[in-house]
């Protein structure tokens, strides 16, 4: 638990005829990490040649063909619309059973599949992309037409004719444009419309002067509206564009439906074949690492110590006895891959340790201590029953939903769940239910008249002081846990000298400091003079050891330690901040709810509501506007019944929005600060990290499942 798993350095010798089977079985079991033969000097000497793999460009070829179709399927799914529901509850991919296929057979399967429907799918897709572009173009035209809807002009006359060129466009510098056009003899300039920011200009010139004319247009910042291929005046053109657009969109929808049909039927098969290809490829690639003699393949691998027997069995079975596995103790701890050894409830927290760095082989794995500490700090900092409940529920949704498919999300979900429970617990003890319980500004329970008792009121009486003391006690304890881990590490590495210089000095200084300084801070505490003298003595001892270790930087070591200690006061500060901000939200809620403006608010509400709704209705574009107007009217109507109702609704809004924001902000803060306490104030004493993670030779099958040996024999 406290250290990464013991590993063994394996050398596997297999007769060349059986190498392939051994590779297959090792990949299926996935318990060894294979790396290059070059890493072991002794072995390197013995082998003659490295295995050169067959050329695998074919793999890339076939894989690309499959991937291009799979990409089309994925894009179509996006168009069809993935929903939040899909994200929250993704279906687990079904695993298709496969037997062992030879590579040539596999290639043949791919060819057959592509012949059957590959071409059709590609054709549909390119039609789809074309229509998409056309729709985009039409939408541009629609936008442009809307801005000139009132202009009376025949659009087909725009553009170039035999003698003239006519353009319609916009500029925000009409004066400059006019001046520039004045230099072109045949040009004319007509302002057909104007808004605050830009002017709509109709302009033209003799075709012969086109070059001069166009450079004048550029000078004037003229932005042309490309509407030449339309007919009729803008109103008619807009109607016809809209018609075309609808037609194209319908066509697009039907194409999407067709593609989705193909997808539903064939996507699985494509993915299965692609996975098989990738499995094959990984097997071919791994062989690059092997060394060989005339008849033997030589494999260098790593395995966990308690799995070595299993490895021997697998190798011996698949090679039919024509193999030998040699296991040795690793020579150099820096080389050994790291596999962490933690019980199941702690395992998700390895995420947190690894985010800093995976431990080295001979280093302490702090995860088993970080896990409960992190959860404890988080709970203290956030300390609210309802917030914790929300987090816990969210975590469950995460684990049961997206966590089914992605392991990372699942682990994070478990961490969240644990922190949620901790928050619930401390919320109960601090009396926080969306804010502290107070007589004047009620939290969630208070609004229903329920008074919940609390062990420790965060914002009243002695509460904050006690919480501060608890935080500091936790701090000094945790730092000393760090020192203990440092001690364990030194013992393991046999750095006995450092034990005296580091651990001893801190464990002498701390009691000395306490005995000498505490009476000054805590009134009634005095120690007999013998104790004081003893304190001076051990304090001096500690300082000497410190000076021996750090020399010039000794003072900074002391301030560093003090800083680490005081840093834990942030547990109190953040706990108070959560409660305080929740209280503030409650204060503002009550202020809004109690606002007494009388009927003064009702008439303006109704008036504005009606105006906004009418505006939205007339403009015909904005359902949003009509909706907002409707809401305002309803609020105003409620106000007619009782002038405090709209404020009540508003207060409700403030209450929920405020607490959600507080939860988000403080949740994030508690997470990061709890983490930072681990990384800076705890790890600093014993943890360096820098190990390489154990990556077993394995292929995570998503879409396929290998038939067992018995099934294959059938």
């Amino acid at each position: 638990m406290l250290f990464p798993k013991r590993m063994k350095d394996l050398t596997i010798l297999v007769h060349k005829d059986h190498t392939q089977e051994v590779v297959d079985s090792l990949q299926e079991e996935g318990i060894v990490e294979i790396d290059s033969v070059d890493r072991d000097e002794d072995v390197k000497e013995l082998v003659e040649e490295k295995n050169i793999p067959e050329i695998i460009t074919d793999f890339t070829d076939y894989e690309m063909k499959l991937s291009s179709i799979i990409d089309i399927f994925e894009r179509v799914e996006e168009e069809g619309g993935g929903t939040i529901k899909d994200f929250l509850n993704p279906p687990e991919p079904e695993k298709v059973e496969r037997g062992k296929t030879s590579l040539d057979d596999l290639f043949e399967e791919v060819d057959d599949l592509l012949e059957e429907n590959g071409k059709e799918i590609k054709k549909l897709n390119s039609k789809f992309m074309e229509i998409k572009d056309n729709i985009a173009e039409l939408k541009e035209k629609e936008k442009a037409l809307k801005t000139i809807i009132d202009i009376d002009i025949e659009l087909s006359s725009l553009g170039e004719s035999s003698f003239s060129v006519l353009r319609l466009g916009k500029t925000d510098r009409p004066v400059e444009l006019k001046k520039a056009l004045d230099d072109v003899d045949s040009a004319f300039f007509s302002k057909t419309g104007e808004t605050e920011e830009e002017s709509l200009i109709l302009t033209g010139a003799y075709l012969g002067e086109k070059k001069k004319y166009e450079s004048a247009l550029r000078e004037g910042d003229f932005r042309r509206l490309r509407l030449e291929d339309l007919e009729g005046d803008p109103k008619e053109a807009l109607a016809s564009v809209k018609e075309d657009l609808t037609k194209l969109e319908d066509r697009q929808d039907s194409l999407v439906d067709e593609l989705i049909e193909y997808k539903d039927e064939w996507e699985k098969r494509y993915r299965v074949l692609r996975e098989e290809l990738n499995i094959y490829r990984s097997k071919k690639e791994i062989v690059q690492n092997f060394g060989s003699t005339k008849k033997t393949s030589v494999i260098k691998a790593w395995a966990e110590e308690d799995k070595v027997d299993e490895v021997e069995d697998i190798v011996s079975d698949s090679a039919d006895g024509h193999a030998e596995v040699v296991d040795e103790e690793p020579a150099d701890p820096d080389e050994v891959p790291i596999s962490l050894d933690n019980p199941k409830p702690i395992k998700p927290f390895e995420l947190l340790t690894k985010m800093f760095a995976p431990p080295r082989y001979d280093e302490v794995d702090p995860t088993v201590i970080v896990a409960p500490a992190f959860v404890l700090f988080f709970g203290l900092m956030l300390g609210d029953f309802v917030y914790g409940l929300i987090i816990a529920i969210g975590a469950v949704v995460m684990i049961k939903g997206p966590g089914k498919v992605e392991k990372g999300i699942k682990n994070f979900g478990w961490i969240m769940f644990a922190t949620g429970l901790s928050t619930i617990f401390f919320g109960l003890s601090q009396g926080g239910y969306m804010g502290p319980g107070r007589d004047d500004y009620h939290n969630l329970l208070g609004r229903f008249g329920i008074e919940a008792p609390a062990l420790l009121e965060t914002l009243e009486g002695d509460g904050p002081l006690i919480l501060l003391i608890i935080s500091l006690v936790i701090g000094i304890t945790y730092i000393n846990v760090g020192l203990v881990l440092q001690l364990i590490q030194h013992i393991k590495r046999k750095n006995y000298k450092r034990i005296i210089l580091e651990n001893a000095s801190w464990w002498l200084l701390q009691p000395a400091a306490f005995i000498l300084i505490a009476p000054m801070m805590l009134g009634g505490l005095t120690f007999p003079s013998t104790v004081n003298y003893a304190a001076y003595a051990i304090g001096a001892g500690g300082l000497i050891l410190l000076a021996l270790r750090a020399k010039g930087l000794s003072f900074f070591e002391l301030t560093g330690f003090l800083g680490d200690f005081l840093s834990f006061s942030r547990i109190l500060a953040l706990g108070l901040a959560t409660a305080g901000i929740a209280l503030t939200v409650n204060v503002i809620t009550d202020l809004v709810a109690g606002a007494d403006v009388g009927m003064l608010i009702v008439w303006p509400l109704l008036a504005i509501g009606v105006l906004v709704a009418l505006y939205g209705h007339i403009k015909k574009e904005s359902n949003k506007m009509t909706g907002i107007g409707g809401v305002l009217i309803i609020l105003g109507a409620m106000g007619l019944v009782d002038p405090s109702y709209p404020f009540f609704v508003l207060a409700l809004l403030v209450f929920f929005a405020g607490h959600m924001i507080n939860l988000a902000l403080q949740g994030l803060g508690s997470f990061v600060h709890s983490l930072r306490l681990q990384y800076v104030e705890f790890f600093g004493y014993f943890f360096e990290g820098g190990g390489n993670e154990f990556e077993p030779f394995k292929f995570e099958r998503e879409h396929t499942k290998l038939k067992t040996k018995e099934e294959m024999k059938k």
Binding site: F555, R570, V587
Partner: protein
């Protein structure tokens, strides 16, 4: 030209609004001047003619005294009798100071309860008749400190808001630049931009707590001038420390830029970006400690013990943590470098953090002095005894360590550079540390002077 006319329009509107609002305030503030009645005799309070009615502020558990006298200097003829008339109430007692044959004309009155007290005096003058005067003395809760408390609240939310605004702006600029290249990073950028906002929330929190407990919002209560002074210190603590948001903006900006290139850096970028928040947290912590020990957060009883020197200690502590909070800018600079380095070289995470938190030491010194001031001023106990001189000395100590704490900015610049150096060449770790720690020596000078002040002025028992 269009720009100017729009600007001019807006200016005009703003001007009109200002004029309108100020005239409203002015009109509201004007009150009709009361006509003064002329009397032959007048009751003077502490030697001055205060009119018919006056108020006295009474602090809880204390008493307030005044000297009432009749001005007889204007009278030439003989005085035959002087009679005082007042209701005997529990809340006050009197003590005769000066007597006359005709009666006493100067008394000292001591009030112990909130109430209205009426005094009439009748003077009979030979051949002239009887003259009288009366005075009503209203004794009420001492709320003179309220205006100071509101200043404290304003400082808290104002300065913190300034820091947050600048910090969020810096981060937002990085965000805007990022989405120009990679629009899909909008969400992540927004999360980073939210980080410097927390300082403003802390400032708002403290402001509202101050307003709440001083009776501007909701319940009323006594608040004396010393408590008001304390509130200014509370506001300074969290407000000035909120300027660390500028540093957090710098590191968040770096976080955004890094995440744009490599979304995997989100977690680590977050951890670095949150480092400069420590200063603000210390500011908040000290604000809350001051609120507790001044009795603001909890009950009026503790407030009785607060006198002006203790209030000044509050200001000293607030300055100590607050100004030192500017070291957050240094920490932001170093963290920004940390994020960028870790993006290139994952193994630098630990060492990057070690360097990034170096500028935090100044903030710790500030917090330490703040706490020492609180502890040794006797605020925590029942009967603090401090002289005015000690109070001002406390302000001096706070300034000493606070302003020296700004050296954290220099330390941040060095640390940021050291991180990059170590990423390049591992052996430079030790020497990089030495460079980085140099700036801290000046903060240590400040710390030393602050401690000397605390010790030599007899703070410690």
């Amino acid at each position: 030209m269009k720009m100017r006319s729009k600007f001019g329009k807006n200016l005009l509107v703003a001007l009109l609004a200002v004029i309108l609002v100020s005239s409203l305030i002015f009109a509201a503030g004007m009150q009709p001047v009361e006509a003064q009645e002329d009397s032959e005799i007048a009751i003077l309070m502490d030697g001055e003619d205060v009119g018919d009615e006056t108020t006295l502020s009474l602090q809880p558990d204390k008493s307030v005294r005044a000297v009432l006298s009749v001005d007889l200097s204007q009278i030439d003829n003989n005085i035959t009798s002087i009679n005082w008339n007042f209701t005997e109430k529990e809340g006050f007692s009197k003590n005769v100071l000066a007597e006359h044959d005709a009666g006493y004309y100067q008394i000292e009155v001591t009030f112990r309860e909130y109430d209205e007290y009426e005094f009439d005096v009748y003077v009979e003058i030979e051949d002239d008749g009887e003259y009288s005067d009366d005075i009503t003395i209203i004794v009420e809760e001492d709320r003179r400190g309220m205006f100071l408390a509101t200043i404290g609240a304003g400082l808290a939310v104002g300065i913190a808001g300034m820091g947050a605004g600048i910090g969020v702006g810096i981060a937002g600029a990085a965000g805007a630049g990022t989405i120009a290249e990679k629009p899909d990073k909008f969400g992540l950028s927004l999360v980073f931009q939210a980080l410097p906002q927390t300082q403003a929330i802390y400032g708002l929190l403290v402001a509202i707590l101050i307003l709440l407990f001083t009776g501007v919002i909701g319940a009323t209560g006594a608040i004396s001038i010393p408590v008001g002074i304390m509130a200014v210190g509370i506001g300074l603590a969290v407000g000035l420390a909120g300027l660390s948001a500028i540093g957090q903006g710098i590191s968040s900006a770096s976080g955004i830029a890094t995440v744009a290139e490599d979304s995997e850096m989100f977690g680590r970028g977050m951890v670095f970006s949150v480092l400069p928040e420590t200063q603000a947290i210390y500011g908040l912590l000290l604000s809350i400690l001051l609120m507790i020990f001044s009795g603001l957060l909890g009950g009026g009883d503790a407030m009785a013990g607060i006198d002006v020197p203790i209030g000044l200690v509050g200001i000293g502590a607030g300055l100590s943590v607050g100004i030192a909070g500017l070291s957050g800018i240094g920490q932001g600079i170093a963290s920004a470098s940390g994020v960028a380095t870790v993006a290139e070289d994952e193994s630098m995470f630990g060492r990057g953090m070690v360097f990034s938190v170096l500028p935090e030491t100044q903030a710790i010194y500030g917090l330490l002095i703040g706490i020492l001031l609180i502890v040794f001023s006797g605020m925590m106990g029942e009967e603090p005894t401090m002289t005015m001189g000690m109070g001002i000395a406390a302000v001096g100590a706070g300034l000493s360590i606070g302003i020296a704490g700004i050296s954290g900015i220099g330390q941040g610049i060095t640390s940021g550079s050291a991180i990059a150096a170590v990423a390049n060449r591992e052996e430079t770790f030790g020497k990089g540390m030495i460079f980085s720690v140099m700036s801290e020596t000046f903060a240590i000078f400040g710390l030393l002077v602050a401690i000397l002040i605390i010790v030599s002025l007899g703070f410690m028992g």
